[in-house]
Structures are given as C-alpha cells and as structure tokens.
C-alpha cells in the first residue's frame, strides 16, 4: 500500500463519516421536543394551522424521505432556510460567518501553534531547568483558566486599561472584517491561552522522549554539536505526536471559538450557532453542526497527511523487508 493509495482510502472514509454524521445530526434534531411547524407558528399555532403547515412543508412524510430531501438539498448546496430569520436562506447567512470564524481560527492558529511548539521544544531541551519550570508553569496556569475567564482578563488589561484593542469585536455595518483586523487579536489570544498549555506540554514530553532515544544518543556520539542534533535529528520526530494532538483537538478549538465569539460578540459561526440553539432554529443548527463536522473531518485528514509526510515509516509502508 503506498501513500497516495492511503490518502484515497482516507478520502473514502471521510465521505462515509460525513454521511453517517449527517444521519446522526438529523436524527438528533428529530428527537428534540417540538417540530419546525410549532416553532414557526409559535404562540399563534392552532391545530389546524399546524397541520396545514406540516402538510405544506412535508413534515408528515416518513423520516427517511425527509432525510433524503434534506441531504439531497445539501448535496446541491442548499442548506435550507432559517426559521428564526423568517425564511432567509441559510447560505446567505452562514458563509460570511464561516469566513469570519476561519479568519479568527487561523489567527489563533498562527499564534498558538508556533508559540507552543517552540516553547514546548525549549522546555523539553532544557528539561528540569529554569526555562522549563517557567514554561511549564505558564502552560499549567493558562490551561486551568477557561476561555471566558482569560477573555475577560485580556479585555480588562488590553482594552480597558491599555486601550490598545477594542473591547468587543463587532464589525461596523457596511465594513468588512479586513478593515478591522485589530478586533481579531484579543479573541485569538484567549484561544491561544487555552491551547498553549496543552500543546506545549505535549511537545515538551515528546521532545524529552526523543532526546532520550537511542538515535539521538547515536547522533551525539557521532560528534555532532548538540544544537545541530536537536534541529536536524530531534525536531522532526518530536513534532509528530504534537501534530496529531493539534489535529485531534480541532474540535476543542471549535468549542473554544463558540465561547470566545460569544464573549467578544464576534460575528462568527460560533455565535451564530449559539443564536440558533437559543432560538431553536432547527435547519440552522443542522447546517452549523454539519459544517463543524466537515471541518473536523478534513482537519483530521490533513493531520494524517502531514504525519505521513514527516514520517517515512508511514509513507513507505509495505515495502519493509
């Protein structure tokens, strides 16, 4: 089995995952009390009007038919209509928000991934020395703080005291996020706070493990300078587990996004999902959750590909003698 084949296989299983998840999501929403008709009509519902609406929207069809209709729509790019916003197509609502969230996630990513990997490596190389103690303490401290605490903390320092960044991260009407990039910093930092401790600890322990391995000893005893051994021999191997961990924790990152976006009133997908849940906007919930699933699955795939790329044992599997 070669690497390309593995990727194709993974793509296949990705599709299967998505299909299964769409069923699960659909059924979950299905068993939530109340149906779409009740939500649309709300207080003004009468049994007759409910029945008429159900008939009109096909809500009386068997579950299977409704699922197919929904899934069929999804495939054609039709995510349905929002109920709370009175029939606005979800497509027009969602994608802008997704873009915003991506941008925030990306900003956070650019900050926390290099930072935590770098500091994790430093801590690992200097294990049990002062630098390690400081980094480990920072990691533990930030890990213990939930996003909303660290968020408030950041706001009070940088927004209220220093007034460097805005308190809330709303985008003024008629402007795009790109002309307001400074609003990204504080939310991204609070996400960094959560991820940093975890990722840097992971990086530290894998670095320590690699530095104690036979092949690092062998490289050192070949007379290579320590710095070179760390850079050329240790780094690549030590980053493998970290990459997996980051990939596996994309879900966590999204959880963080929801909280942080709500806290900063940032118009991303997280806050959209919160609103949808609060208003029980079923089609919108479905669309958001499914999208998160897609992102999650794709990021796992990317992680695996990266992993294979860094690790020749995966890339050249099967031609072991």
């Amino acid at each position: 089995m070669n690497f390309t084949f593995m990727i194709i296989k993974r793509l296949g299983s990705l599709v299967v995952t998505l299909v299964v998840m769409s069923v699960v999501i659909f059924l979950l929403v299905e068993i939530m009390p109340g149906d779409v008709a009740e939500m649309i009509l709300g207080q003004s519902a009468t049994p007759e009007s409910l029945e008429a609406l159900r008939e009109e929207r096909g809500l009386n069809d068997p579950v299977f038919t409704r699922y197919l209709r929904w899934a069929g729509g999804l495939l054609q790019g039709d995510l349905g209509e929002s109920i709370y916003m009175r029939g606005v197509p979800i497509n027009t609502l969602l994608w802008r928000r997704v873009g915003h969230s991506m941008l925030l996630a990306l900003t956070a990513f650019i900050i926390f991934v290099p930072l935590s990997i770098f500091l994790g490596i430093v801590a690992g190389v200097k294990a049990k020395k002062t630098a390690d103690s400081i980094i480990s303490f920072l990691g533990l401290a930030t890990m213990a703080l939930p996003e909303f605490v660290s968020g408030v903390f950041l706001i009070s320092i940088f927004a209220v005291q220093l007034r460097i960044f805005p308190i809330i991260s709303v985008i003024p009407i008629g402007e795009s996020v790109f002309s307001n990039l400074d609003i990204l910093i504080l939310p991204a930092l609070s996400i960094t706070f959560v991820m940093f401790g975890y990722v840097s600890r992971m990086q530290r322990s894998s670095m320590i493990q690699v530095m104690n391995s036979d092949y690092i000893r062998a490289a050192m005893l070949k007379g290579m300078p320590r710095r070179y051994v760390i850079l050329r021999h240790a780094l690549k191997n030590a980053m493998l587990p970290t990459i997996t961990i980051i990939g596996m924790n994309m879900g966590w990152l999204f959880g963080g996004l929801i909280v942080v976006e709500t806290l900063f009133a940032y118009p991303g997908m997280g806050s959209l999902l919160m609103t949808a849940i609060r208003t029980r906007d079923v089609p919108l919930i479905e669309a958001c959750v499914l999208l998160i699933t897609v992102v999650f699955a794709v990021s796992t795939l990317i992680t695996d590909v990266m992993y294979g790329f860094l690790n020749p044992r995966i890339r050249f599997q099967g031609d072991v003698q």
Partner: protein, 671 residues
C-alpha cells in the same frame, strides 16, 4: 611513541541518586594497545556500558567521574564539551546493541552517513556522499547507491547493523567501541558480522573494545578478555588462558553457568550463582563478589586486589580452585536417568500443520509441519527468527487456530482456540514465555497469580488449600513463602520466570510449551532456570516443547531436536543424531555459526549470505535454496526436497545424496 591507544587510570564513576550515591565503576585500570582488541564481559549491572559511555563522555548529569581516561596524549575527562566533539565519531566511534533504534527513522541512511564526514572532515556534500558509498561498498553491501536513499526501516536488522558499522568507520577511528552489537541479531547474521568486525580491525589497524554478556561472541573478536563485576575488573587475560585457568571465582562460576558443547542435562547441572549483583554504595569496599562467592574464607577480603597471575593475566583473587574449601563445582556432575520417557505413544501429535496470516499479503508462518512429542521427553525446536517456531508453539497452546492440519493431545483433537478447549485440556497444556514480566499481571501478588488457575482449572475452592499448594510449589522453584504477598512487578526477571514456572507446574500438566524462557535472562539466572526446568521435568514426567534460538540451550535440555527454517522442518532426530553428521546443510550452517564458549575449539566456518526470503512468497523447491552452501543446482529451487530417513527417528529434507538412507518423495509443497 606510546603504542597504547587508551589508558584508563583509577577510574571511578558515581551516580548521585535519591538518598546517597552509588558507584557504577570503581578503581578501574585498563590499557588498550594499538590494534589490540579486548572483550569486556559481565552480566547486567556490572558497569560495562557505563564504562563505554564514560569514555565517550556521555553520562547522565547526576554522575561524577574521577580518575584519568587517556586517549593517546589527551585526558578525555578534561576536555570541554566542544573539544570532545572532535573525538566522538571521529577518533573514537561506537556501535550499539540495537541498530534499529540507533538510526534515526526520519532521515535517510545516506544523510546519516554523510553528516559524519561533513562534520569531522569538512567534506562537501558530494565528497561526503562519495565516502559514504565507499564505506558501504567496503562492507560488501550490494547496491550502495540505492541504499543511501532508503530509510532505516526499509532494510533488515543485519543490514542496519552494517550501516552502523560503516558509519563508525567513516573517519577511520583509532578506537571502536562495540556495545553488544550482535545481541539483537540471528546467529547466522551474527557470525557474518563478527567476521566482518575482525577483518575491519586489521584492515584499518583499529583497536577494539567489545562489550558483551556472551563469552562465545567475545572469543571470536577479542585477543584479551576483561571480566567485570559490580563496576570493577575482577580478572583479565588472554582468552584461552582465562578460559582454561580462571583465577577469580566469579570468572570460573560464570563460565560454568553457560550451557556449551558436551553439557547435557542427563550428566550435568549448570552452575548457578546465588544472589544477585548489588548496587554498591560509594563507601563499601573489599571484594564485590564476597556475598555470592562459594570460595570465601575469613582472610580473603584483606588480600583482595589486582595482581599479575601470569603473562598478561591479572586477577583480583586467585581462589577459583582453592583447595581449602569444598569445591562446589564437583557436585555439578549428576546422572539423571532417561527411563521415564515413554516411547509407545506421543502425548502431542502435530499433523501436517499450516498456519498462514493475513488476507491480501499472506504470510506463510508454518508450512506443513508434522512432529510428535513423547511423554516425558523434551522436544527442542531451534531456528532463526521468522522460522515459525513461535507460531508453532502458540498454535499448540491455542492462541492461534491452524489454517490446515491437526494437533492431537492424547488423541483428542485440540486444533481449536484455547477458549474452546475443555478445562482439563487447559490444565494439561501449560506455557512459559520469554518475557515473564509481560505474561504476569504486574499488580497481582504471587499468590493471586498462581491461585487463579488453581481455582479455575483445578476447582480448589478453599483458599487455605490453595495456599498450602502454592507454598509447596514455590519451594520447588526455589522461592520462599515470603514471596506469596509480593507483587510480580517487584520481582527480578529470574524470580518472575520462577513464578511463571510455578504457575505452570502447579496444575500438574502433561505438556509445557516453553518459548525462549531464558533468553531475556542473564547467564547465571538462565542456568538456574534451566536446572529448575530439568529437575521439575524429571520429577513430574511432563513433556516439554522447548523453543529457542540458542543451540547450546537446546542441546542441553532436549531429548529430540527439530530444526526449522521458514515454517518447515529441515531436520528432526534425537539430540545426538541432529548434533552430529550427517547434517542438513542448514543445521550445519547454524552449528558452525554458534560462537564457541571454549576458545580452543575450532570448527568449520560456514557463512550464510543473503537474507530470509520474503515470508509472503510461495516457495516451490527447498526453502533454503539461495542461501545454502551445498546447493546442487536448479533442482533445489524447483522441486521440493525428499525426506531422507537415516533411522526411525532421524530424518531431514534435502536433495543431497546421502548414502545408506531411505528417501521418500516430498509431499505437496505449500498449500
């Protein structure tokens, strides 16, 4: 110019540990001449590896070193971190036990070779690559250009070790330190590598320091042996003299622990050394072996210290053959009768057994093996890794079900998983594995471990009764009652194996499958386990299937021997029949590869080239074709060899023409 390469003077290495410090190397003096090769031997914990890392200046931060390590005119201990880089890998190179883990999995072989000359000789990229390819070529490695582009996991263990040796040779070092470089390899590969090392030593006029626990291996490469115990050198001298006339009781005891040619269980018990190597604190002095020494007398401690005892031969004590105490070695001769063997009917019968793994890529692990084990006898199965011996054992235990063929135990078909076997069957067939630590639950006490099968399979419900039985059993395996409440993770490897043996024997089984039961143990512990297994067998009349890669061990313990290669039987017969000519060519090659414990023994040299064929490939002819030194021609490759019978018991499969033998055409090849 001084001809010595390495002079170590009064070297002490301490490790600061929780609550004090322990001494790992103590008062060590050693000289290594130009182009000389010494072997350092000792059991685990004797400080031999610490010594090599001290020379390389690669010790844990909690270590303290005093003394002098002179490499030519430089005291290595006084060099700065920066200065020492010029020695490591350049003037002093090292090769390690496990080639697989010593090569970086993420970098190509070429890269890992090139960097040595790029750093030490400031070679350009092209020049470095050229040198790497030269080094690989000089070790007779085929296709070096292709090899440099590969990753370590893509080549076999023997090739990996050659890459490591090539790496060590790149700068033509003055001193090469080899730390158990062949321990992880098969005997035939080991033999080839050892020859190679000997040749290279003379070709490049290097000095060698060869560290091993295996005296046979050391004999092959070293001119002089240094015996270490508990961080001290206790004896050193030329191989033959040291073997023939050891002066230190430890040297003699150690040599007598090792199963070797001519020692068989009917006539000899192996020597054992009671107790174990103690970590010594820095303040303890005197003879490190005193606690375990059978030659100890009141006055001997004061006289302890290295002295010349012959030409180039020095020992710290000369009481190995002292006459003033009774010689415990005399008791090693025994005569255990063989009478209990029952030749009428086999207790275990394997009929045409096949075991294949995998669906798409089929691995043919066992390919048509038929063999019987008689009541009260030991069948030794020997072969290199990948020969299917372990799969055979595990199929008999019921961990696998056969792909084809049958296994009968006392005429009952047991070709099923152990889950489907009757409790009586489970009781009758017991097993002892290589790694006792892994087969015993680490958090259970010894009592719990042995108690479980007693309750489940013997149906002994009273805890008291179980306990009495366990205590009796523990006594038989040489453990006292105190062990009842000890957790298995707190026991040493040897003790754990004893517990595993006790667990197996307390059910009075008819058959015990022992899969490499001693290969993870030190020789002194191995010998006590082998003695124990021999005694228990004589007492209980149980039959063993004893699987091992070590021919000396197999020779010691077995009544019958089966030699396997690539899932097939090469040769089968009684011990004497298999160990003496006529041989199957593979048996012959194996025997000639085994490092001899006694350096005065010289034997025919047969070196196998090539590697085991891909186990996923179907083989039409003889599995050994292609590596066989006796190969006749294409017939070996195209036609399955016939079964050649020499006696009722002795047979082998080969196309060679053996006079006075009955030949039976071969059956179907692979299924």
């Amino acid at each position: 110019m001084n001809s010595s390469i390495l002079t170590i003077e009064n070297l002490n290495v301490y490790f600061d540990v929780f609550g004090g410090s322990v001494s790992a190397v103590r008062g060590l003096n050693l000289t290594l001449d130009h182009n000389e090769s010494i072997g350092i031997i000792g059991e685990s914990g004797c400080g031999k590896s610490t010594l090599s890392y001290t020379i390389m200046r690669y010790l844990a931060p909690n270590s303290r070193v005093t003394g002098k390590v002179m490499f030519r005119e430089d005291n290595l201990l006084e060099k700065t971190e920066q200065e020492i880089l010029a020695f490591r890998g350049n003037r002093i190179a090292m090769v390690y036990q496990n080639p697989y883990s010593s090569l970086n999995p993420a970098l190509t072989i070429g890269f890992q070779l090139d960097e040595v000359t790029r750093f030490h000789q400031k070679a350009s990229k092209e020049k470095a690559r050229e040198k790497s390819i030269q080094a690989l070529t000089s070790l007779n490695m085929g296709d070096p250009e292709g090899l440099v582009k590969r990753y370590p996991h893509q080549i076999s263990g023997g090739m990996q070790q050659r890459v490591c040796i090539a790496m060590a040779l790149l700068c033509q070092p003055d001193l090469m330190i080899l730390d158990e470089p062949t321990t992880a390899l098969d005997v035939t590969t080991e033999a080839v590598i050892l020859d190679l090392i000997r040749d290279l030593k003379d070709k490049y006029a290097m000095s060698l320091m060869y560290i091993s626990h295996d005296i046979g291996v050391i004999n092959k490469v070293a001119d002089r042996i240094v015996v270490m115990y508990s961080g001290e050198i206790v004896e050193s001298g030329p191989n033959e003299e040291l073997f023939a006339h050891p002066h230190h009781p430890y040297t003699r005891a150690l040599i007598n622990c090792i199963p070797r040619e001519g020692l068989v269980k009917e006539n000899f018990r192996l020597n054992t050394i009671p107790g174990y190597v103690k970590q010594r604190g820095t303040d303890e002095g005197g003879c490190p072996f005193a606690e375990r020494c059978s030659m100890k007398v009141a006055g001997c401690i004061e006289r302890y210290g290295m002295r010349e005892v012959g030409e180039k031969h020095a020992a710290a004590c000369d009481r190995a053959y002292a006459a003033d105490v009774a010689d415990s070695f005399a008791k090693l001769k025994v005569s255990r009768s063989k009478q209990h063997a029952d030749h009428t009917k086999p207790i275990l019968e394997v009929q045409d057994l096949y075991k294949h793994f995998g669906k798409k890529r089929k691995i043919y692990a066992v390919n048509g093996v038929s063999v019987g084990v008689e009541r009260g006898t030991v069948l030794g199965i020997v072969g290199e890794s990948g020969c299917g011996k372990t799969t055979m054992g595990q199929t008999a235990v019921g961990l696998y079900t056969p792909s084809k063929g049958r296994i009968l135990f006392n005429d009952t078909d047991i070709s099923v998983s152990w889950k489907k076997r009757s409790p009586e069957m489970l009781k009758q067939i017991q097993f002892i594995f290589q790694n006792p630590g892994r087969s015993l639950n680490p958090s259970h006490t010894v009592e719990q471990i042995i108690s479980r099968p007693l309750k489940k399979l013997m149906g002994i419900s009273s805890r008291e009764e179980r306990k009495t039985r366990i205590i009796k059993m523990l006594e038989q395996v040489g453990l006292s009652e105190e062990y009842l409440s000890k957790k298995s993770s707190h026991l040493s490897g040897g003790e754990q194996q004893r517990v595993a043996i006790a667990r197996a024997f307390c059910l009075s089984p008819g058959l015990i499958i022992c899969d490499e039961p001693t290969s993870a143990l030190d020789v002194s512990v191995q010998s006590s386990v082998l003695n124990l297994l021999g005694d228990l067998q004589a007492e209980t009349l149980a039959a063993y299937v004893f699987i091992s890669h070590d021919l000396h061990v197999i020779n010691y313990i077995s009544d019958y021997i089966m030699v396997m290669y690539l899932g097939r039987v090469c040769e089968y017969g009684t011990r004497e029949e298999v160990m003496q000519p006529p041989f199957h060519p593979y048996t012959e090659a194996l025997l000639s590869s085994v490092p001899e414990i006694d350096p005065s023994q010289k034997k025919r040299k047969i070196r196998l080239g090539g590697q085991l064929p891909d186990p996923a490939k179907k083989i039409r002819g003889c599995p050994f074709a292609g590596r066989c030194h006796m190969q006749i021609g294409t017939i070996c490759e195209t036609q399955p060899p016939p079964l050649v019978k020499f006696s009722d018991t002795h047979s082998l499969s080969c196309h060679l023409d053996f006079p006075d033998a009955v030949r039976e055409p071969a059956g179907e090849a692979t299924g």
